[in-house]
Amino acid sequence: MATAPSGTHNFKVVLLGEGCVGKTSLLLRYIEDKFNDKHLTTLQATFLNKRLNINGKRVNLSIWDTAGQEKFHALGPIYYRNSNGAILVYDITDEDSFGKVKNWVKELKKMLGSDIVLTIAGNKIDLEHERTVPLEEAESYANMVGAQHFYTSAKLNQGVEELFLDLTRTMIERYEQNAQTDVNRTSQVVVVDDEAPPTQSSCCSGNRSN
């Protein structure tokens, strides 16, 4: 949760989801919407660095794509380490992919707790007629786990921009909440550090005066 001295928030967001649900197309759509090809980075559609300005707050988003194949599932923790946000993508026409999302949610909650902001994306709404994941089920699930839910279509460019914006807003909120609690926590840490031998005497005297 690095914050540069200039007050810019640096957020890392990982894209998780089964292969073929369209993680990469979502990212690509988001990139293409704003940039032309020349702005692609070395890692092309697997990485995006984006600056946003939300309510006067500068945000630096780093979005990481991940490999979705089942055999790479165990690599998840390496990628989502230190993430501020995660976008969990499923295909509304593929129930298995929604099951995968549920697994990710469970894992992320367990590993990162409330440090990470979760957003669930039901992709491919252009294929509404083939939908197999019921609308209510997805939304109530997201609600239950405290995640935002968005319907997106990378193909028709629907919901993509909104998804990223909303996620960023929530991350700022979460960050500011944590910073609030961190103030208390760090002041305690400082005290502990001061208990190292050189300043021990001052500590003791402090205790006595209490």
């Binding site: 993680k23 660095n49 230190n82």
Partner: protein, 555 residues
């Protein structure tokens, strides 16, 4: 200085006695009683932090000294692979301490002396079983245990490797308390009062530019120090050194104008060059300091008596050295940002002058920080000793990795690609019918040959940033190779990129990749972790992990 006994002392003196930082070699190296002490002296006795390499006994002590005796916090590693850490009194480890055996069995509790338990303690076996109670006696002769409880570890059969006692690393000398004599020497040389050196290693306790710091005077002292040392050296060895050394001294004698008030990209490059020269030169106070520090570091962590548990100490020490050295550098160049706050110097706007352009890529700039400035000077010198520690620490995984790699690399490309789950569209040159007869046609023998060769350069670089750049050019080479085959509009997605990169990593056969990754991770700057280089590095790490995970046999 040589003593009549044959002992040798090399270091600083006061009134004819060792005083300040010095190295003393005692005893006959062919006999069994030889020691080398590197550390602080006060009026002829060992006092302060020092490292004692006892060649006869086969052990090494890293800790505090008082009146020629081990006294205070310290740790010992022995040739048998035992590690002690705790409080020493009059040469003996007494009271609360920690002992770790080679197999991971460890004890934390009261000691009477090194290896002799005496009092309350917890003995944890490598199996995870624990005995907590009163222990007494030497571990070599049998330990009497009374009033103890035993906890069997049944639920979690696989104990995390390298489990350590709770107080590990907490009972030894803090890294910023080490080698202070060397820094003091440098401060004296610069004519800066020692008082700005506070125990926390923060030399600017009274504000970022304390009133006592006179920049002009410091530079004069630097110039004096250089020319004195230079003349002296010339007298001693009239024409021994080559010309290029002279040249570097010449350019150091000019007091630089850059980096004094403001910093831009150009002056930063100059500053970097100056620092590089200064650190290379034995005439410059900074160079002497770097030399002293790296020698001290290498005697501590190099040699035969190395212990994998020293790794965390070595890393902390190196980071502390970097931070403290940076404070010294900031005396010379006040325009540098204070420790802990990086500054980013934006690159010049590109010719096309698109504003949006600069906006889209925030990492486009030179990050100025203690690490980015000093790692290139420090890490190459400390790398051999440091890397041995990494290799020891990661030996188990690296051996496993290597065995798999050797086996997989016997396979032809096609088999390996199929095994690694690479999408057939990347098997260009193999799938077309003409080639089917000779799948090993030399032209396409290795599709990502160039990328593989690029990645192999990882071993020839010594600082994390250089290694990251190697990884980046590997990705660039992969992109070129793929775009040649699939058209220039091809874009990677991680689903496809990962398996291909995995293939490149396997083919690159990098020795001790786990140790390399661990090294980069420890020294990578936080500012880079989220960026593109961070993702590239993470992907390399994921590949290594995947190699260890994957089933061994192909088919």
């Amino acid at each position: 200085m040589k003593y009549t006994t044959g002992d040798i002392y090399e270091g600083y003196f006061k009134d004819g006695n060792p005083h300040g930082h010095g190295i003393k070699k005692q005893g006959d190296f062919t006999s069994s009683s030889a020691t080398i002490y590197t550390g602080e002296w006060v009026n002829g006795v060992k006092q302060g932090y020092g490292v004692m390499d006892d060649i006869g006994k086969g052990e090494k002590y890293l800790g505090n000294w008082s009146d020629n005796k081990k006294h205070g916090c310290g740790l010992i590693v022995t040739l048998d692979g035992i590690y002690y850490e705790g409080l020493f009194m009059q040469d003996v480890l007494t009271g609360h301490g920690v002992m770790v055996f080679e197999d991971g069995t460890h004890y934390e509790g009261e000691f009477r002396s090194a290896g002799v338990f005496s009092g309350k303690g917890i003995l944890t076996f490598s199996s995870g079983d624990k005995i907590e109670g009163s222990l007494s006696g030497a571990w070599t002769e049998g330990v009497k245990i009374s009033n103890a409880t035993m906890q069997l570890n049944v639920s979690n059969p696989v104990l995390p490797m390298n489990s350590k006692p709770n107080s590990f690393g907490k009972l030894s000398v803090a890294p910023n308390q080490k080698w202070n004599a060397l820094f003091r020497q440098c401060f004296q040389c610069l004519g800066v009062s020692e008082s700005i050196l506070t125990p926390t290693g923060n030399h600017f306790a009274n504000g970022p530019s304390g009133p006592s710091i006179d920049n002009v005077k410091i530079w004069q002292n630097v110039a004096v120090a250089i020319s004195c040392s230079h003349k002296e050296r010339n007298k001693m060895s009239m024409k021994k050194k080559s010309n290029d050394l002279e040249k570097s001294v010449d350019c150091l004698e000019v007091i630089p104008q850059f980096g004094q008030k403001t910093l831009n990209l150009e002056s930063y490059t100059e500053l970097q060059q100056y620092l590089y020269n200064a650190c290379e030169s034995t005439h410059h106070p900074l160079g002497q300091l770097v030399l002293g520090l790296t020698n001290a570091f290498n005697t501590t962590y190099g040699g035969v008596r190395v212990h994998p548990l020293l790794l965390s100490h070595a890393v902390k020490e190196l980071k502390s050295i970097t931070a403290r050295l940076y404070q010294v550098v900031r005396l010379l160049f006040p325009a540098l940002p204070p420790e802990g706050s990086d500054a980013v110097l934006p690159y010049k706007k590109r010719e096309d002058g698109q504003e949006e352009h600069a906006d889209s890529n925030p990492i486009d700039g030179e990050v100025v920080s203690a690490a980015s400035l000093l790692q290139p000077a420090l890490l190459p010198r400390a790398h051999p000793a440091l890397f041995v520690l990494y290799a020891l620490h990661n030996k188990r995984e690296d051996d496993l990795y290597w065995r798999r790699l050797l086996k997989w690399n016997r396979q032809p490309d096609l088999t390996l690609m199929a095994f690694l789950g690479i999408d057939p569209k990347f098997w260009v040159g193999y799938t077309c019918p003409n080639n089917q007869l000779s799948p090993t046609s030399p032209l396409k023998e290795q599709l990502f040959q160039e990328a593989v060769e690029t990645l192999q350069q990882l071993k020839t670089t010594f600082s994390p940033i250089e290694k990251l750049l190697v990884i980046r050019s590997t990705f660039q080479k992969m992109t070129i190779a793929v775009q040649q085959e699939l058209g220039s509009n091809y874009l990677w997605s991680m689903d496809e990129l990962f398996p291909v990169f995995h293939f490149v990593v396997v083919r690159a056969r990098i020795l001790q990749l786990g140790s390399e990754i661990h090294f980069i991770e420890d020294f990578l700057e936080p500012a880079m972790q989220h960026g593109e280089l961070g993702l590239m590095f993470t992907t390399l790490k994921a590949c290594y992990f995947q190699i260890l995970q994957e089933k061994m046999s192909i088919n």
